[in-house]
């Protein structure tokens, strides 16, 4: 799997390259500025891009803007965005096109290599990887609303993992329950919240995120 990596701090870039290579990814390019990233995304056609939000030369949200522009040129181009802070505002912009293949994680998540690599693979396959912090922010905002109150604690737990983009199998493994139980919980959640049921993992995530983000 070919990866384009954009990160301006040498130590982090080097660390990410090593980690990705250790998990058999092929690094198509590891760049440090916005213009270089745009060029690499346009020319190298990677399977997935791992991008830091803040990049030189402007040190603003250049990485995010480059990624969004590349996705406009090539809809569905898988992009995993990394940042020192997560903002719902950015998550919303990334998810806006509804094409999937989006990841948005805190840089801390690279501490857990297995989970991080799992997120990269999920995004590359057209799935979603949302940082738990984004989800908890969304949930805290919705907590006073009635519809969220009707979920049982376990259903809430499942919903958080669904919103992060995990598959039924991964949720089952994490909560130590059977996949069938997860499927039952999710169909309950969708029923209670009035969302259209869907077997497609990615559409399911987007539905939940859109629901949480509403209002």
């Amino acid at each position: 799997m070919r990866v384009v990596l954009a990160e301006d701090l040498f130590l982090l870039r080097d660390g990410l390259v090593r980690m990705l290579e250790a998990y058999d990814f092929e690094i198509a390019a590891a760049v440090e500025t916005g213009p270089e990233l745009s060029k690499a995304l346009a020319e190298l056609e990677p399977d997935v891009a791992v991008v830091d939000v803040r990049l030189p030369p402007s040190h603003t949200d250049e990485g995010l803007q480059c990624a969004l522009a590349a996705r406009r040129a090539r809809p569905g181009l898988p992009v995993l965005v990394l940042s020192q802070h997560v903002e719902q505002l950015y998550a919303r912009e990334l998810l806006a096109d509804g094409d999937g293949g989006i990841g948005y994680l805190l840089k801390d998540r690279v501490f857990d290599a297995d989970q991080f690599i799992d997120a990269v693979r999920r995004v590359a396959a057209g799935g979603t990887a949302m940082d738990p912090q984004v989800i908890s922010q969304l949930l805290s905002r919705r907590s006073q609303d009635r519809p969220m109150g009707v979920l049982t604690p376990r259903e809430r737990e499942v919903m958080e993992l669904v919103a992060q983009g995990r598959s039924n199998a991964a949720i089952a493994a994490q909560l130590v329950i059977t996949e069938r139980a997860v499927a039952k919980h999710t169909s309950n959640i969708f029923g209670k919240l009035g969302l259209p049921p869907s077997d497609d993992d990615n559409r399911r995530v987007l539905a939940v995120l859109a629901y949480l983000d509403r209002g």
């Binding site: 803040r54 940042s83 802070h85 719902q88 501490f111």
Partner: protein, 422 residues
């Protein structure tokens, strides 16, 4: 007809106010002037020292009342020029002597007294004219209606018309109507002229303005320096007690792990997990600290999006409208951001609002921000409150803050900061 009635109301109002100013204002001005002169004259005798501050205080109140009317009645802005008295003046006779000296030394005092003189003469004439042009015509009407009969033998001079018959009475009415038409057009401007005249003496001179400005700059500079210093202290403390301490603990753990790794790999593994956890906690603390110093979204996107991101983090519904064609200077953006942040925190925490509205726009060289909530109201700008902190912080940029928060709500905090966008 509509043009006429549209003019009648303001003209009649101006006439009434002119009458009021001459009837009430004139005696007060005369009394105060006489008292002030006497009081100053008696200073060598000692009595004057005791009475002068009180009398001058009264003069200032009288002048301030006129400043207020100038603004509310004619839209003439007359700034207040007085030097503030230093805090902690001594009580008793010595304090009174100090107060007298300070007030007499203030050039505004001399100008106040000059104004009293002008107000008694030219000022009063203008006010009376504003009133007379609307009232005098009424007399013409009454004469024509039948009052002329009283003057059948001895003609009464209404303006230039000797009234002694119905015909001359009607001539008086014609003259009255003419004057009335002049009054319709000039009563308002005459009242305004009265206030403009007052303004020439009551407004600060260029020197006074500059002195005031220097005073204000000194104050805000002190506050800015204080704020910066206490911020640095807070950051130092947070780093010292937080991230720094965690890194020390982590280093210690790693040392232990090194020693354990061959003897007791299982425990070493457990400690590694702990070390990873503390590094994650250190990161979280640093992230919060950074957010408090300069929020990352502000650096990446500017004020509008930073406020939007802030509103999204609130546990209540929010509406943010932004109309900023460019970005302000970084310090202004930062001050504005933290001001909005504080106002929002107040709305959620103290007013227990369920909905907040934030509006940001730039017009006439001003960044204007309003934060409105549907909460319980009752917010005040007082010592120690977050709002006075905002006020100080905005003061550095000549920005101002106004709070409207009746008990029961809603609360509206408005801020204005002069700045250019780039």
């Amino acid at each position: 007809m509509t043009v006429f009635s549209g003019r009648l109301r303001p003209a009649a109002l101006a006439a009434g106010r002119g009458l009021f100013l001459s009837v009430v204002g004139l005696p007060v001005s005369i009394t105060l002037f006489v008292l002030a002169m006497l009081s100053v004259a008696f200073i060598p005798l000692g009595i004057g020292v005791l009475s002068t501050p009180t009398v001058l205080e009264a003069v200032r109140k009288h002048a301030n009342q006129r400043r207020l009317w100038a603004m509310t009645w004619s839209g003439v802005r007359i700034p207040v020029p007085y030097r503030p008295l230093p805090k902690g003046l001594r009580a008793g006779v010595t304090g009174q002597v100090e107060r007298t000296t300070l007030m007499l030394r203030d050039p505004a005092t001399r100008r106040d007294l000059q104004w009293l003189l002008v107000d008694m003469t030219a000022g009063t004439v203008l006010a009376i004219l504003a009133a007379a042009l609307m009232i005098y015509p009424v007399e013409g009407l009454v004469l024509a209606a039948g009052l002329w009969r009283v003057f059948r033998d001895d003609p009464y001079w209404y303006g230039v018309v000797p009234v002694d018959s119905q015909t001359s009475g009607i001539a008086a009415l014609a003259l009255g109507i003419a004057i009335f038409h002049i009054g319709l057009r000039t009563s308002g401007p005459l009242l305004r002229a009265h206030f403009l005249l007052a303004g020439t003496l009551l407004a600060p001179t260029r020197d006074q303005e500059l002195a005031q400005r220097v005073r204000r700059l000194t104050e805000t500079r002190h506050e800015a320096v204080d704020t910066a210093a206490s911020e640095l202290r807070r950051i130092e403390r947070d780093l010292h007690d937080g991230a720094q301490a965690r890194l020390v603990a982590m280093g210690m753990n790693l040392g232990t792990i090194e020693a354990l790794i061959e003897k007791d790999p299982a425990r070493a593994k457990k400690m590694l997990a702990m070390a990873r956890e503390s590094s994650a906690e250190a990161l979280t603390e640093l992230r919060d600290l950074v957010r408090g110093i300069h929020p990352p979204v502000l650096a990446e996107r500017g004020l509008g999006d930073a406020v939007k991101a802030l509103a999204l983090r609130l546990p209540v519904a929010s509406e943010v409208t932004v109309e900023l064609p460019g970005r302000a200077d970084a310090p202004v953006e930062s001050a504005a951001y933290f001001a909005v942040s504080e106002a929002l925190t107040n709305a959620v925490k103290h007013a227990r609002a369920e909905r907040v509205y934030v509006d940001l726009h730039h017009a006439e060289g001003m960044l204007r921000i309003s934060v409105t909530d549907d909460g319980g109201g009752g917010a005040v700008v007082g010592s120690g409150s977050g709002l006075s902190g905002i006020e100080r912080r905005l003061g550095t940029f000549d920005g101002v803050l106004a709070v409207s928060s009746p008990a029961g709500g809603p609360t509206m905090v408005t801020m204005e900061i002069p700045c250019e966008l780039s």
